[in-house]
């Protein structure tokens, strides 16, 4: 693991001093699971782990030339597809765990009114996991829809100490990041706990680590700190009662929300306590020191944390935003020294489209590292990759035109046997991406969900 790799750990991880943390790991919990009924309902005791990854700016393969050259979607459907020309090439070694769903559209990211024309970069991300149409506003009355990861977390994430986590790579506080009358939060996050409740994403690996495992050097110390937090939370609840009498109803409503969060944090602490008293304990690698310099180092560290969190069963649901719309970041390792956003406006010229495909390929090449980590972790009768469903895609298609057609979308992992892998499914023209998402929900055990965003029917994905 990256977190424990000596060569890298020097730079990204706190070492020495022997501050390790004891936590039960999944293997330790195996006996309990084995004891369960043979007819074990996968969805109930061992739900599929869900990781939703967004990359922005679509793909070169969504453009006309790019499609002809199979820069994203391979030519052949079914199992006998060639990844050679595609930006998906780095996944060749994992083709058995790969399901490509091509040719779907994210229609709710398109403009519906004259005012919305041109605002694609500033509403796309909000659309990715919600497949809903963001309300054009700069105020607090933001509205889009509940996101897939949150629907899942609210139903199946309640058994872990943390129902879900949201991570990101790019900084959010630069100006000009949002415009066209769209609130910044549409660009900042892909996770929505309700149609009007955006969730902040964590960029600093150290903050994510502390959220997962708490601060404090030893298990006893962590436990003492959690007790202190609990008594503070109790106290806050009573303080809020005293406060609200003096406030207007808007503020009282805001305080009610705050109280809900207080209770949620209490619940998490309670879960951690319960969790820690079960199973055998293992040592945790030490906490990372902050945001690393490079993109790749940062992404890998975030993947380490996700694998680690799932290995210790702290949470089973992640959303991970690997880019930010309009970003002009240069990825030197991609071999293309062009800033991301300008490169995405390739003007439909073949050489520029090819260069953009290289950047897409570089982003995809981040994934095998994560898959390796997941596959290394043995759980019950398989490994975590078999038990996970990873979504990777973009709510934009041809970024040169800002359209949302033929958007990149792949699934990876076995989803507890629900995805056979080595598949390329090409949707009929005009199929909403929401159809594929709806199908995913059914595979995740949310069979009763009948529609999602602008879905028309679930797609057949095996």
């Amino acid at each position: 693991m990256y977190l424990t790799n000596r060569h890298i750990s020097r730079r990204t991880v706190l070492r020495g001093v022997g501050a390790t943390v004891a936590l039960p790991f999944l293997e330790a919990m195996r006996p309990a699971r084995a004891a369960a009924s043979a007819l074990d309902v996968a969805g109930a005791t061992d739900p599929t782990r869900l990781v939703c990854i967004e990359m922005v700016h679509g793909a070169a393969g969504s453009n006309e030339i790019g499609a002809q050259k199979n820069l994203w979607a391979p030519a052949a459907e079914g199992s006998d597809f060639d990844l050679g020309p595609s930006s998906l090439k780095p996944l060749e070694a994992y083709r058995d765990a790969l399901t490509i769903v091509s040719n779907t559209d994210v229609r709710n990211a398109e403009a519906f009114t004259a005012r919305e024309v041109g605002g694609d970069h500033f509403r796309s991300s909000a659309t990715f996991l919600t497949q809903a149409r963001p309300k054009q506003t700069e105020g607090s009355d933001v509205e889009v829809g509940i996101s897939l990861d949150q629907m899942y977390a609210q139903r199946f994430g309640q058994d872990t100490p943390i129902p879900s986590m949201q991570l990101c790579i790019e900084n959010v506080d630069q100006s000009g990041g949002c415009a066209y009358g769209y609130a910044c939060v549409y660009t900042d996050t892909i996770s929505w706990a309700a149609k009007d409740r955006p969730l902040p994403m964590v960029r600093d690996p150290r903050v994510a680590f502390d959220q997962l495992f708490g601060a404090g050097g030893t298990a006893e110390e962590r436990s003492a700190r959690r007790r202190a937090d609990r008594s503070i939370l109790d106290w806050i609840t009573s303080e809020v009662g005293r406060l609200s009498a003096d406030l207007g109803s808007t503020d009282r409503h805001r305080l009610d929300q705050y109280l809900e969060h207080v209770r949620e944090v209490e619940r998490r602490i309670h879960r951690i306590e319960a969790h820690n008293t079960s199973g055998e304990t293992r040592e945790l690698p030490e906490a990372p020191i902050g945001v690393p310099d490079g993109f790749e180092e940062h992404v890998r560290l975030m993947f380490d944390l996700q694998a680690l969190a799932m290995a210790s069963d702290m949470t089973r649901v992640f959303s991970f935003k690997m880019g930010r719309d309009g970003s002009a970041r240069i990825y030197p390792e991609s071999g293309v020294p062009l800033p991301f956003h300008p490169a995405s406006h390739h003007g439909g010229k073949e050489d520029r489209v090819d260069k953009f495909a290289k950047i897409n390929e570089y982003h995809v090449s981040m994934l095998p590292y994560f898959f390796d980590r997941l596959r290394e972790i043995e759980v019950g009768d398989g490994n975590l990759l078999d038990k996970s469903l990873i979504i990777y895609g973009s709510p934009m298609g041809d970024s040169n035109l800002h359209n949302h057609k033929r958007c990149p979308l792949i699934f990876a992992g076995g989803a507890n046997g629900k995805l056979q892998g080595n598949q390329h499914i090409k949707a009929p023209d005009g199929t909403p991406m929401a159809n594929a998402m709806l199908s995913v929900m059914h595979k995740l055990g949310m069979d009763d969900v009948e529609s999602f965003g602008d879905s028309t029917e679930p797609m057949t994905i095996t």
């Binding site: 730079r11 005012r115 607090s140 800033p339």
Partner: protein, 819 residues
């Protein structure tokens, strides 16, 4: 908490409306109530009003209808209702028209130019109608309660505990709206945020008291690759080069180990191995504590790789400057075949070539410890906290109460109630019973820092306030508003205790004067101006290291500092805001002066410097602005033009249509000749879809083409002479930066309006609405009478109605009213 307003104030609401009118200088002067205003508008006056409205409608029909009618709607703007109805019935449209007319952006160049006198008259009529309407029914507006953002949290902790903390380590990033990070209605709450405040409370309370039982941990300071390793780092001992110097709070007196990592080449050898005998010194508060010898043959494949560490060192608890820096062994230029760039680490391979002298670079410093702790000694934060010491066991409660009382009052920013103290003392008793007096105090401090009273800024609503009605912000809340506006932090004792005087403009002005003299007023520059001018975007810029080798972290910091010092100077000397564009001086240190090509400045200290020529004037001559509006490898006249339009003129250009290629997609070489940025832009503009906007935006930026990506002066771009000629959208010919500054200077009122809008939005923590524009205009008018001096804007905002009053949102009711 019981902070209700008294009955008598609630009953005085009608009088408040009158006060509001007077406050903001609303017209017509002398009228004392809304009723009266309405009844006097009779006979001759009504006729005059009808006349001027008719006149403005005629003007709009003649000059705007061709494009902005119900059918064509250029720019999605249909002005039909303004042609037919009174402007005050359509404030949103009318404000748009005023802005375009005042800026001179409309009618566009290809349309006949109306007489400037007419333009001014019509804009004035529209303004007057809107201002009168606002005077008849004042709308101070409202916002939800604010929470402490990262910057405010850090400053509040600094004031409360004399402790420096990095809030980014705990709190999620702040959502920015309209350029500011304190806009209340986008400050969303979440469990992640809640946990952030909790973790911060725990960690900050430990750091403040010092922790004799502190577990060993590690804290690492990274050295950016762009930090020069040739020059001495700020706060590092004299006689050293490079490295890092940071203020670190040692939690307890005990044994610490310092670890460093050096940079290696891509193949794993030490970077900078051409010299032998390099040494790195670890110092604490300027005193040498360890010297590490650097073996030029060290390699990644060694057991310890690029790591070195000191012997264990005993360090006393408290905040101390820690530096890890190389001992300087020679000075002056090295006679090399190739001169390495200013020792940024753009390329670690350079050290492999012969004929290049390279020196080792520090990658990070880690402080590890403590072990064998012997307790916590004195530190500024402990002195701040322990205002008394119990003399006996029976004295502990009394002393604890007095400490808690003071800390909580300061943290809650209001007088305490009996319940407040009682509930906090519960935490003291719990922890003190088990682990003693200090543990008890720490436990209370942790609760205070996590409490909603600290992290939120509640503003109580007076009893019986009805939805939609206006009420005076309670004095303690107003004191808090003032403190966060001017200082970016909580009010001090004097402000809180004189809050009753804040009911009157005189009282507010007195406090503002006092507060601006406090060093904390630097927040006007570092919080307000930095965000208004978008200085945070400097962090995003990493100019191409091979084209701009002189750009390193220290230069970037100097650029930012120049602009902050300049703005702070304007506030402190109460200079005219016109200086923002016109100042013929700036603030430089040696590094920046040589970057600008100005001689006679030596040393690291910034000082006021008069420009020797007219190349640079005001903000548009600041490298910070010129750099943050550039790309890594080229200047961007478009970004520069856009910045001027958005930040200074308050008129953001419309966004580009989606299918237009960016400049990068136009060819940069034609016929074997590399094009200048101007030539590439001209290619780009050949597209008619682009031209209508870019002929407004580009000339502004092109006038600044003599400034390169890093803001230094140049006369050639890609080998061709720089051509900075152009024509401003209002027809003024431009031949370079000084023409641009002068032309924009003639639009003084527009600049002043934009400054006021930003200042007001920042002070209120909400975006401005068309209903706020009458307030903005009245502040600008009053500032005009005072030569647009900076303090008249600040005073204008602090005494304005939206700052002193609030409105219960329609449909909402106060708790009291709802009962």
């Amino acid at each position: 908490m019981r902070l209700r307003a008294t009955k008598s104030r609630a009953a005085a609401l009608p009088l408040l409306a009158a006060a509001l009118l007077l406050l903001a200088g609303w017209r017509p002067a002398g009228k004392t109530s809304a009723e009266e205003t309405r009844t006097t508008e009779t006979g001759a006056e009504e006729a005059a009003v009808a006349d001027e409205v008719a006149l403005s409608q005629k003007f709009l029909l003649r000059n705007c209808r061709a494009c902005h009618n119900a059918r064509i709607q250029r720019g999605e703007l249909d002005l039909t209702s303004l042609f037919e109805e009174a402007p005050e019935q359509h404030p949103v449209l009318a404000e748009k028209v005023i802005r375009k007319l005042r800026t001179g952006l409309m009618p566009p160049p290809e349309r006949p130019k109306p007489d400037p006198g007419d333009v001014d008259r019509v804009a004035s009529v529209l303004e007057r109608r809107l201002d009168d309407r606002s005077a008849r029914s004042p709308q101070p507006g409202s916002r939800p309660f604010q929470r402490l953002n990262r910057a405010e949290y850090e400053r509040s902790v600094r004031d409360l505990l004399s402790l420096e903390v990095d809030a980014a380590a705990f709190l999620p990033p702040d959502t920015v709206s309209h350029g500011f990070d304190n806009i209340a209605d986008v400050q969303s709450l979440s469990p992640t945020l809640m946990q952030g405040y909790l973790r911060a409370a725990d960690s900050v309370s430990r750091a403040a008291l010092g922790d004799p039982t502190a577990e060993a941990t590690e804290v690492t300071f990274k050295v950016p690759r762009t930090r020069s390793q040739m020059e001495r780092a700020e706060n590092a001992p004299v006689g050293t080069r490079g490295g890092v110097a940071e203020l670190h709070t040692f939690p307890a007196t005990g044994i610490y180990v310092f670890k460093i990592v050096l940079h290696s080449t891509p193949t794993g050898q030490l970077f900078g191995s051409t010299v032998q005998g390099e040494k790195l010194e670890i110092s604490v508060d300027g005193e040498r504590r360890a010297v590490l010898e650097i073996d030029p043959f060290m390699s990644e494949s060694d057991p310890n790789g690029m790591n070195l560490q000191s012997e264990p060192v005993l360090i006393e608890a408290g905040p101390r400057w820690v530096s890890a820096a190389f001992l300087e062994r020679f000075e002056g230029p090295v006679d090399d075949l190739i001169k390495p760039i200013e020792h940024t680490l753009a390329d670690t391979q350079i050290g492999l070539a012969h004929g290049v002298t390279t020196l080792p670079h520090l990658r990070s410093l880690t402080i590890s410890g403590p072990s064998e702790t012997t307790g916590a000694s004195t530190s500024p934060s402990r002195q701040k906290i322990f205002s008394c010491r119990p003399t006996s066991a029976s004295d502990e409660i009394r002393c604890a109460e007095s400490i808690v009382e003071r800390l909580a009052r300061e943290a809650y920013r209001r007088p305490l109630e009996t319940e407040d103290l009682a509930s906090l003392m519960g935490f003291y008793e719990g922890a003190a019973g088990e682990r003693g007096f200090e543990a008890g105090i720490r436990s209370v401090l942790q609760a205070i820092l996590a409490s909603p009273h600290f992290v939120f800024r509640f503003e109580p609503v007076p009893e019986d306030t009805t939805p939609g009605s206006t009420y005076e912000v309670a004095p303690a809340s107003l004191a808090t508003r003032l403190a966060f506006f001017l200082w970016g932090t909580a009010p001090d004792d004097e402000l809180l205790s004189s809050s009753a005087a804040l009911r009157h403009s005189d009282g507010i002005e007195q406090q503002v004067e006092r507060m601006l003299q406090d060093p904390k007023a630097e927040a006007m520059a570092s919080r307000f101006a930095a965000q208004w001018l978008r200085l945070q975007d400097l962090e995003r810029l990493h100019p191409d290291a091979l084209t701009y080798p002189q750009y390193d972290e220290r230069l970037a910091a100097a650029l930012r500092r120049e602009t902050l010092l300049f703005f702070d100077h304007l506030v402190q000397t109460n200079a005219s805001a016109a200086e923002l564009l016109e100042a013929d001086y700036t603030f430089l240190n040696e590094r920046l002066a040589s970057h600008y090509g100005i001689g006679g400045v030596s040393g690291d200290t910034f000082r006021r410097v008069e420009y020797p020529d007219d190349r640079r004037r005001g903000l548009l001559g600041h490298g910070s602005i010129l750099a943050l509006t550039s790309h890594a490898n080229r200047t961007s006249p478009v970004l520069r033009g856009k910045w001027v339009m958005e930040v200074l003129l308050g008129s953001p250009p419309p966004p580009p249509p989606p299918d237009v290629p960016e400049l990068e997609a136009t060819d940069d070489v034609v016929g074997g000749k590399a094009l200048t940025v101007r030539e590439r832009l001209e290619e780009h503009r050949a597209n008619p879809a682009c031209r209508s906007c870019h002929r407004v935006i580009d000339p502004i930026g092109l006038a600044l083409e003599n400034f390169d990506v890093t803001g230094s002066w140049r006369t050639r771009d890609n080998g061709e002479p720089v051509d900075a000629n152009g024509e401003l959208f209002d027809g003024t010919p431009l031949r370079g930066p000084s023409d641009l500054a002068a032309a924009l200077g003639r639009k003084q009122e527009v600049l002043m309006t934009t400054l006021t809008e930003n200042l007001l939005a920042y002070a209120l923590g909400r975006r401005l609405e068309p209903e706020d524009m009458p307030t903005v205009r009245s502040i600008v008018r009053r500032a005009a009478e005072d030569d647009y001096r900076m303090r008249s804007f600040i005073m204008g905002v602090a005494t304005s109605a939206p700052f002193r009053f609030s409105q219960l949102q329609p449909g909402a009711s106060s708790a009291a009213g709802g009962r």
